[in-house]
């Protein structure tokens, strides 16, 4: 059901190669995470587009297995 932090990080890095990814387990339950994703390639993109890129990298897991991933994006 849940996804571990390492797997989330791996998928994001795979989808967005220049990303710096920081994952935090918010509740300590392996189910509520926050992710901060900073990438030079986000420059010039809106927040919606940046989040969309992360969602794409997560390959359909967002909203399903990952229903509680708080996401923050930006450029480094």
């Amino acid at each position: 059901m849940a996804m571990d932090a390492g797997e989330i990080e791996r998928l994001i890095r795979e989808g967005i190669p220049d990303a710096q990814v920081t994952i935090r387990d918010l509740a300590g339950d392996g189910n509520h995470y926050s992710a901060t994703v900073l990438a030079p390639s986000f420059a010039g993109k809106t927040r919606v587009q940046q989040h969309q890129l992360v969602y794409n990298a997560l390959k359909g897991n967002m909203g399903g297995v990952l229903h509680a991933l708080a996401l923050q994006t930006g450029t480094p």
Binding site: R47, V48, G60, Q72
Partner: protein
């Protein structure tokens, strides 16, 4: 009327629409609740649509916006984002500006 047409109509005929889990009076998810708190704090009038009442609506809105999570906020037909984006924009004062730019009255100053 198909679900996509229903959603399109709601989004375009209301100034501010929030697709959420639960209702503005009784949110049933923490993320939806946070957006409700922000909108209420700003004193913005909005229409809340409860996706828990309809699987068609729940799936339909994700397809409509190509966005996998709920809540989803629309201002004047434009998709603004989910909870994280709304909160970030609110904290930066950008959400208040977005409402003003769209001609939507905001009661409170942050």
């Amino acid at each position: 009327m198909g679900i996509e047409q229903f959603i399109d109509n709601e989004v375009k005929s209301n100034d501010v629409v929030l697709f959420m889990k639960g209702t503005p009076q009784f949110p049933q998810c923490g993320f939806s609740g946070q957006v409700v708190q922000i909108l209420d704090h700003l004193g913005v009038a909005y229409k809340g649509l409860n996706v828990l009442e309809s699987l068609d609506l729940r799936d339909g809105i994700k397809a409509y916006s190509n966005w996998p999570t709920i809540p989803q906020l629309y201002i004047k037909g434009e998709f603004i984002g989910g909870c994280d984006i709304v909160r970030e924009m609110f904290q930066a004062g950008e959400l208040q500006q977005a409402f003003k730019d769209a001609g939507v009255p905001v009661a409170a100053q942050a």
